[in-house]
């Protein structure tokens, strides 16, 4: 600190300001422009919000939304504290009963508080990742098959074209009934609502990955295929040495599209089916209809956007890690 101040003291004022503006100009495209965009957005939001009056009060501006961020965080902390208190009370009670009567089998009951905003985020994230994973495990191999074999493509393509445009929400009632009918167990590892949501997400995550993988695989450089033929590579090494490396960019394009769509669909499915998650949070707040509801919904909207963005960045880093061409600029 003292070092900096000595430097500042001995540096003429003009050059100091030049240094600061120089830094700003240099980092302008990467740092300054997004900040300007963000500030503009906040200003417009703030201005427009004031002039919208709804039956639930004034439309929330950035300040009210920020307030609710704090409120939601506090609710979560309080909920956790009361849950901890509940469990310690239960443990004490059980210990006392066991001390009185050694044959007593203690009953352990779960805390029944409503899930908080953070709980709902976690549920949604977990659901979308499981649904996406199931879809990818199916879509990538089928896509590779379609890319490699024209007959497989011709056979499967009509199905892809038929089911691709279907909104997954149209599937939701069917999925719900099928899950209720088939997923019967006394002690289920996953709740039915989770299975329904995850399966619905899978249904819509399938198509972009499948189609992009098929296109990527079918567009492999013909010379490389000839190399493989001349070397008489086994089908497995043909797949691992030629097919997968050359189609990785397209496969990841598909995966990223799938994950983005899956995340959007999940929120809608949760709203519609009242399955736990961010969608349910939004719907509950809407039904609740208090003066703070709109601000709380806005927090959820921004959270959904931020999580979608982070998910995409994560996929991008995975792509960077597995891609052979490190110099390639990925967007």
């Amino acid at each position: 600190m003292s070092k900096i101040s000595t430097i500042l003291r001995f540096t003429p004022a003009t050059s100091r300001s030049e240094g600061v503006t120089g830094f700003l100009f240099q980092s302008a495209p990467t740092l300054l422009l997004p900040i300007i965009g963000l500030l503009l957005f906040l200003a417009i939001w703030n201005g427009v919000a004031k002039s919208i009056d709804t039956s639930l009060g004034q439309f929330p501006g950035p300040a009210q939304v920020w307030e609710q961020v704090g409120a939601l965080a506090n609710e979560h902390i309080e909920q956790r504290e009361s849950a901890d208190a509940f469990y310690t009370r239960q443990a004490e009670r059980n210990a006392a009963r066991v001390a009185q009567d050694p044959n007593y089998v203690p009953k352990i009951r779960a805390f029944t508080g409503a899930p908080t905003f953070l709980d709902q985020i976690w549920t949604s994230l977990y659901t979308v990742l499981v649904g996406f994973l199931i879809a990818s495990i199916v879509a990538v191999p089928v896509g590779i098959l379609c890319g490699l074999s024209k007959s497989a493509y011709t056979a499967i393509n009509p199905l892809i074209q038929l089911f691709k445009p279907v909104s997954p929400l149209a599937w939701l009632p069917l999925v719900t009934m099928v899950v209720s009918a088939l997923y019967v167990s006394d002690d289920p590892a996953f709740s039915k609502s989770f299975v329904t949501s995850a399966f619905t997400v899978s249904l819509c995550c399938l198509w972009p990955t499948l189609i992009n993988t098929a296109v990527g695989v079918s567009n492999i450089d013909n010379d490389l295929i000839n190399v493989s033929k001349v070397l008489r590579l086994s089908p497995l090494s043909h797949l691992t040495k030629i097919v997968l490396p050359s189609s990785i960019p397209m496969i990841f394009t598909g995966l990223r599209l799938s994950l983005g769509i899956g995340w959007m669909v999940l929120i809608a499915a949760e709203m519609l089916a009242q399955n736990p998650g961010l969608g349910k949070f939004v719907w509950d707040e809407f039904q609740n209809g208090s003066g703070e509801s709109l601000a709380r919904i806005m927090v959820a909207v921004l959270t959904i956007g931020a999580i979608g963005f982070v998910l995409d960045r994560c996929m991008l880093s995975v792509q960077r890690a597995v891609s052979w061409d490190k110099s390639r600029v990925l967007r």
Binding site: I211, V215, N226, V227, K229, L231, R232, K241
Partner: protein, 292 residues
Amino acid sequence: MSTKHLELAQVGIDFPTPKGPFRALENVNLKIEKGEFVSLIGHSGCGKSTVLNIIAGLHQATTGGVILDGSEVNSPGPERAVVFQNHSLLPWLSVYKNVELAVKSTMQGKSKSEMREWILHNLALVHMSHALDKFPNEISGGMKQRVGIARALAMEPKVLLMDEPFGALDALTRAHLQDSLMEIHASLGNTVIMITHDVDEAVLLSDRIVMMNNGPAATVGEILDIALPRPRDRLVLADSKQYNHYRHEVLTFLYDKQKKVETVSSHGKSTLKQSANGVSSEKKDKSNSDAA
């Protein structure tokens, strides 16, 4: 030495088109001896590459066939290694790994150290020992083609097939690689069949030059024996009467006897074909973005 190391007999090939089969080659007969260096030369579109692909087994002849050491060629295989025009190295593998892939698939049952030695030996042959861990996009075009040659040599092919191997290189790099190739051919004695557009290259490298007629239904026009003593030195030959006589023969064949008539219609056709390709690739792109 058998006189029938490699034999093409009555080879013809039809390509299916919407208007019915198109006869690209007809009645191609060629006998090649072991260790011989043969060049195929002709105007573009005369079917040189098709001949090479048939020998490689990448295309199937419609009529006739190819016999290598007494057995018929039906499918591609490492005993007929191909050096492709645009190197065709796997961009995700290092120089060493590219050659290793070829060695692993052709020398099964050898120990790891033997394989490693063989890979290094072949990369040394093409003077690429210094770039083992480089990736194809980190080395020059000439170097890539050297690695392509090393990969082909590492398969220990009976016949080395080269499809315009130096076509995409600048003149100086090309000369270097030609010298390397002559060196390798002298020491290993592989049978080499090379496609070229370059008259000098053909005369300098070959024992025989096979000159092809123009298509459709292209076939072997003339065969010219090049009786220049080896080793050949490009500087000495540049001033040699015999060398220039051979050059003249090939040029006469190409530009006098087989004058390529670039008619407006054929030119239009080729551009049309190109634009059709362009459209289809655009379509593909579009379908990608649709999928997106």
